[in-house]
């Protein structure tokens, strides 16, 4: 087995036993990227030199017996909307093509402090707006499972980098499904943590009340470990919560006896592909046979989730993206005077989808429309949150498909609304602020991965991880209940 095919956890063990050096690992991934990425396009920026430098430093620390973090020397890829000091952070936008941040995002600081080399910055839909990574201003990322298909989005590059063995694990961000949907399309594990568990400081904002950074990995234990590294309070993010972070490794117990799994018919309605449906139900059955109890729950407000999500997300985005004007940083397109410069910069700097969402959000916040749109959406959001809290008094985990279909082809979803509907199952956890995890649960007739989504209540990542770990163990034993 090649080094790049190893999971992060395996690489960590090999490093700990001195079977390999960090430099060898990083070199293996760089070679892999150089060989494959011209086709796959998972990365926007490859930081080979910095990664090798960090790897050598880690190896030296190990050699000299200096203090090491557990993940010292294990490399990672990060989505290109996380601020990296002295390394350009484009957000997949022409607007920030040349933008080099002077500071590190809090999660980037944690990764660097842990001695982990960063392989590069991964491709994404422009400003995280999209579900296929086709909205990147720079490249289309291809699904490593089938290069004719999209990897999902907006963290398509981060999911593809892991699935295509160009990184052992990665960080993505999830506003309405942007970690879980590409994880599902690429056949890897992705987790959107509870809102407030991971610091957003340095994450370029799309929709501030929904955005959350999370891990993507080959295996549930990788995701648990990476979450451990990034979770916890950060004084720089006022919305980050002061809760004590549990030991997520401790929840990796393949025991679901007594676990109450909720199934909501609203997540299995029309539009859901039959193969996806049966794969998800099979996963539920597997868990049920392992001792979990399956309970019907009702989440009728799910029907309003997409509308609610697009009103709130675009409203926040319209304010968050107004700062890109060519004055202080990023793209500047000259004009006859300053005002012409602002106009040209925005006209050229933003792509179609970003412009569409800025206009939608501006409209939703406008005088005379605020009550009917933004305010109403916030009220529905509160109700959705309550509905989830109510459901979680009856069950521990709600299981749904991650997406209605498996990965689609490039250019297949031409109507923006059709594209928005691919987030139909993933947006509700963001609205409710609860954690959601997607993991593979089989493949369709075209061999494309199918993802199952698990949702738990606020700060119940341990329950999600335990359920996911149990299902993964069952899958690995080949105990598929056909």
């Amino acid at each position: 087995m090649e080094l790049f095919q190893r999971t992060a956890t395996e690489l960590q063990k090999m490093l700990a036993c001195s079977q390999v050096t960090s430099e060898q690992i990083v070199q293996a991934f760089i070679n892999r990227i150089e060989a494959e990425d011209s086709q796959m396009r998972a990365y926007l920026t490859i930081t080979a030199k910095e990664a090798l430098g960090a790897a050598q430093a880690s190896d030296l620390r190990r050699k000299q017996g200096q203090p090491l973090s557990k993940w010292d020397g294990v490399p990672i890829a990060v989505k290109d909307n996380m601020s990296t000091k002295n390394v350009r952070t484009t957000c997949g936008s022409k607007m920030l093509e040349e933008y080099i941040p002077p500071y590190d995002a809090t999660v980037i600081g944690r990764i660097k402090n842990a001695g982990m080399p960063i392989l590069g910055k991964t491709n994404m839909d422009e400003f995280a707006m999209g579900s296929s990574t086709e909205n990147s201003a720079f490249a289309k990322t291809h699904n490593p499972v089938n290069l004719q298909k999209v990897p999902g989005g907006s963290s398509g590059g981060s999911a593809a980098a892991v699935a295509g063995f160009e990184a052992p694990w990665s960080l993505g961000s999830d506003t309405g499904g942007s970690i879980r949907q590409p994880a599902s399309f690429c056949g890897v594990v992705g987790l959107k943590p509870t809102y407030g568990l991971v610091s957003r400081y340095g994450l370029v904002a799309y929709a501030s009340s929904l955005d959350q950074i999370g891990p993507i990995g080959h295996r549930v234990q990788d995701v648990a470990a990476l979450l451990q590294l990034i979770a916890g309070h950060d004084y720089k993010d006022s919305t980050s919560v002061t809760v004590s972070v549990p030991d997520y490794q401790a929840s990796l117990v393949a025991d679901v006896s007594g676990l109450r799994i909720g199934i909501a018919k609203e997540f299995f309605s029309e539009g859901l592909n039959n193969q996806v449906k049966s794969a998800v139900m099979r996963a539920v059955q597997n868990l049920s046979q392992a001792g979990a109890e399956v309970v019907d729950v009702s989440l009728p407000l799910t029907d309003y989730a997409i509308e609610t999500y697009y009103l709130i997300a675009t409203a926040e985005a319209s304010a968050n993206l107004a700062r890109y004007d060519g004055v202080r940083y990023g793209l500047r397109v000259a004009g006859d005077d300053s005002v012409a410069m602002f106009k040209h910069t925005r006209a050229e700097g933003f792509g179609t989808e970003v412009k569409r969402r800025i206009m939608l959000g501006t409209y939703a916040l406008s005088a005379g429309y605020y009550d009917a749109y933004y305010k109403k959406a916030q009220q529905v959001r509160t109700l959705i949150r309550r509905e989830f809290e109510q459901a979680f008094t009856q069950v521990d985990v709600i299981i749904t498909p991650t997406t209605p279909t498996t990965a689609f082809g490039f250019g297949e979803k031409k109507d923006p609304l059709e594209m928005y509907l691919s987030d139909i199952y993933t947006v509700t956890p963001n609205l409710a602020g609860v954690p959601g995890l997607s993991m593979p649960c089989g493949v369709d007739s075209n061999n494309l991965p199918i993802g199952v989504q698990m949702i738990a209540t606020h700060f119940s990542e341990p329950v999600l991880l335990r359920t996911a770990f149990a299902l993964e163990q069952i899958q690995r034993k080949g105990e598929f209940n056909e």
């Binding site: 601020s83 006022s238 926040e316 005077d337 916040l365």
Partner: protein, 484 residues
């Protein structure tokens, strides 16, 4: 002509005196190289997030308490969206529907009449940056330069009820407000440096009607004098429009200093839609009411209360008490002086008289004056004891002001010491009387005013050092004695 009633409401912005900015750790110090007091947060760099400065909340609440406001236990921040390159995020973090202070009142006096103006709200927000255009404004300029050093300085916006009925009332209110904010040390309120700014809403209505007339917003009243002058102009303008049968358009106007008139900036239709919505990057503010109580208890005596106390305690006139209490530093100087010299009336006369004159001519702030209150008290005691005359005292004070030297030292150095030795004066007086027999005769024949001649002669002989009271008494006595 006077059938119209004037209705004025003010919106005042005051910069808070915190050491660091409202959402980041950058210094609030005035000046500095352009863009040297900045960081990713106040520059609004992608991904940076605000963290609320607790001191700014404390200052805002203190201001609210001093303005007799209610402090709700729950408050929140909102984004006020507007685009201008000096606003790096293209929205200002402000407070829309749940401000930190509500429903207050400011009491003040105008020509000895008690006045009270309602405070609708006090909310917190962040300051914008500064732009310099190569032309008149951003449109049509070849280039514009931006300085973000001021961006993110904490501000409070104070909104009054439409309670003010004249330009003079507006000015008196504003002076009281400034005084209060300075007393509680939350803002230095320097209009010339822009740390206090005022906008006004002005309308007229027929006396006796309840409905408000169409209001006009006047921007940038940037000095106390401007407030009165501009409001008077605008009132006159509106009255003229009504009297000529016209109607007022709802609009925003600004003062044109060169033409001394207000000019239209934008109509209501062109007014901004700020698209306020709750700031998702900050959590709502839950205010501990026990903390508020302790802040309230910690407030100092406020200007109006101090004024009335000083009037009562030292038998001062309203005007003098005003002059002593408007500036907190002056009030404190007064109180520290009377701690060593108990005749408050005398202290007041000196402070409102010569001392204030010296302050004005030197342009010094009272905190920079070299004369200590103890030294001033000492000077007044020396005058009381007759060591120097009151007139000499003025010269000594001037010298004290310049050098900071103790009064006794100045008196010694300059030979200001008054001759109060009656033996010495008796001899001099006797000599002068002896040398001027005809004048003595005329005096004794009833020309009383000739006493002044003898006093003058003694003063001349003593180079002005003789104690005038003593000389007067002595001469009267002696001239009588010659008679017998």
């Amino acid at each position: 002509m006077s059938e119209y009633e004037v209705v004025i409401g003010l919106e005042i912005h005051a910069e808070l005196l915190t050491k660091s900015k409202i959402f980041c750790g950058c210094t609030t110090e005035f000046g500095g190289e352009p863009n040297s007091h900045c960081c990713p947060i106040c520059l609004g760099l992608p991904g940076a997030l605000p963290v609320l400065n607790e001191k700014a909340v404390e200052y805002a609440i203190k201001a609210g308490l001093a303005l007799n406001c209610q402090i709700p236990g729950y408050s929140k921040f909102d984004r006020k969206n507007y685009f201008y390159p000096d606003l790096p995020k293209a929205y200002q973090i402000s407070q829309f529907d749940l401000p930190v202070c509500v429903q207050g009142r400011v009491d003040y006096e105008l020509e000895e009449m008690q006045q009270s103006t309602g405070i609708t709200r006090v909310h917190m927000e962040e300051e914008a940056g500064k732009s310099v255009h190569s032309g008149d404004n951003i449109l049509g300029s070849d280039f514009s330069l931006m300085d973000y050093n001021r961006t993110g300085i904490p501000l409070i916006e104070i909104v009054t009820e439409p309670d003010l009925r004249s330009a003079a009332e507006a000015k008196a209110f504003l002076e009281q407000l400034k005084s209060i904010l300075q007393y509680i040390k939350v803002s230095d309120c320097k209009m010339e440096e822009g740390s206090l700014r005022c906008d006004a809403n002005v309308s007229l209505r027929l006396k006796g009607t309840k409905e408000f007339g169409t209001k006009v917003e006047i921007k940038n009243l940037n000095s106390f004098r401007a407030v009165e002058r501009v409001l008077e102009y605008e009132i006159r303008r509106q009255r003229q429009v009504y009297e000529q049968g016209g109607s007022i358009v709802q609009e925003t106007r600004t003062w044109d200093d060169s033409r001394m008139i207000t000019v239209s900036m934008r109509s209501k239709e062109e007014s901004h839609d700020y698209r306020y919505f709750p700031e998702p990057d900050l959590v709502p503010l839950e205010i501990d009411l026990n903390w508020v109580r302790s802040l309230k208890e910690g407030l100092p005596e406020l200007p109006l209360a101090k004024k009335h106390r000083l009037m009562e305690q030292y038998d001062l006139s309203s005007m003098d008490a005003d002059q002593l209490t408007t500036d907190q530093e002056m009030a404190s100087y007064f109180e520290r002086t009377v701690a060593s010299y108990t005749n408050g009336k005398v202290v007041s006369n000196w402070l409102t008289g010569d001392f204030s004159r010296l302050l004005n001519t030197s342009g010094l702030e009272i905190s920079k004056v070299k004369v200590t209150p103890q030294q001033l008290a000492e000077l007044l005691r020396l005058i009381d004891e007759g060591i120097i005359s009151g007139k000499q005292g003025k010269d000594v004070l001037t010298e004290m002001f310049c050098s900071g030297t103790a009064p006794e030292q100045i008196i010694k150095d300059k030979g200001f010491e008054q001759i109060s030795d009656s033996k010495a004066l008796e001899q001099i007086s006797a000599d002068i009387i002896a040398a001027n027999p005809q004048i003595v005769q005329r005096y004794q024949d009833g020309e009383d005013r000739l006493l002044g001649f003898f006093v003058g002669q003694v003063m001349k002989e003593t180079k002005g050092k003789a104690n005038p009271g003593l000389v007067n008494a002595l001469l009267r006595e002696k001239l009588k004695a010659t008679d017998s």
